[in-house]
Amino acid sequence: MRLPKFEYFAPKSLKEAVSILQNEPSAKILAGGTDLLVNMKHKVECPPAIVNIKGINDLDYIKQDNAAVRIGALTTLKHIYMTSLIQEKLPVLAEAASTVGSYHHQTMGTLAGNLCQQNRCKFFNQSQWWRSARPTCFKAGGQICHVVNKKEICYSSYCGDVAPALLALNAKILVTGHKDSREILLEDLFSGDGKAPLNLNPGEILAEIIIALEEMDGVSSYIKFANRESIDFPIVGTAFWASMENKEYRVAFTAADRKPLRAHQVEAFMNGKNLSENILDEASALAAKEAKPIKTSVYSTTYKRRLMGLLLKSTVSEAMRRAKS
């Protein structure tokens, strides 16, 4: 399957990249390419230009200063989970990174690319010929949606593995644009709009992921549930972080909604409590309600909801086990 034609840029600095993007607002950033190029082969993304940011020197790092752990946008997933600081202090992140796709995707795929990956839908992630069997759907530029035949809303799901882990770590991101850089909560990167899932302005690049040092004092875990143990996107993925002393908890899900979901209601319910069996049962029931999975994959939404509850319990017990040891 051939890639559509495009103009190619390989800037050497962030500044240069930003200025190219400024001139070519519908250009796409290319990092590991493992998401973008597949979508381009399917012709669901046909950008006129590609800006390969991998030649930018100082975007591949994991460093710790006195406030935070900072991870450069181009850091590969493999580098993340093979770094002992992350393995030991931020296991939820290591686990999430190590469950993405297969070894190859972890080797090629970058952290920012993973976070910024396109939403998914069984009617969207298909070849051009395949999609020609139906009218073009809203997300692909048409007028209708094959999943929910209502208004012009795209319900495609966010399926990335790493975002929930970073949401559970309350991560921030540094976004570099034409004029300045802004630091925002990762949670605010995601719009919840299936058609345009990211709150990035044209020309903006996600440059750094920031995790506050105190997050390392918590316990955490990520569990992904998929058909196979490799390659597949999650049917549901769940991340959990807890500060045991403070009885403070964070829960996030992926593949359960139009964006990676920080489960605030579940957290509010759990916070301050000891996580007894009963509390967890209730939390699980809440979790299943908080997300809005839509049937954008071949898996049923009831099943996804059920999994959310189940996985929440599993992540909690895994984190507890870690807290003890």
Partner: protein, 158 residues
Amino acid sequence: MKQAIELNINGDTHEILVSPNNTLLEVLRDKLGLMGTKRGCDLGACGACTVLINGDAYLSCIMLAVDAIGKEILTIEGLDEGGDLHPLQRSFVENGGLQCGFCTPGMILTAKAILGEEKHPTEEVIKRKMAGNLCRCTGYKKIFEAVMSVTEQSGKEF
């Protein structure tokens, strides 16, 4: 728009005319005739097109050829050592780690990348990292044994 680029493949420099939308796989196979790199799915989901980029396992079907400029590309054709089979290749032959052979180049290169990372990976690590390379013939058992038997050989550098 085509442009002339230089790629370093198996230690040799090749000057090639490519379009930005050519994948590395297309260039290796269709332009350079390096047919050992296989096209199984062309969508990044089977590992048949695995090549090593600076020693790391990459899927050449979802990598732009222009993105490989300045990097060391190793394909299966560059693996044997002056005509002698590489220990991994020998092990696949001796342990029956192949049937049709279509997945084999990708399997071997992925194994090489793994062994480049850790000299003595555990069984679990091998399985986990090889799991992006699909094989429909062997059921994986003999491929696994082939890789294990190489890691068990002492002191070899890969």
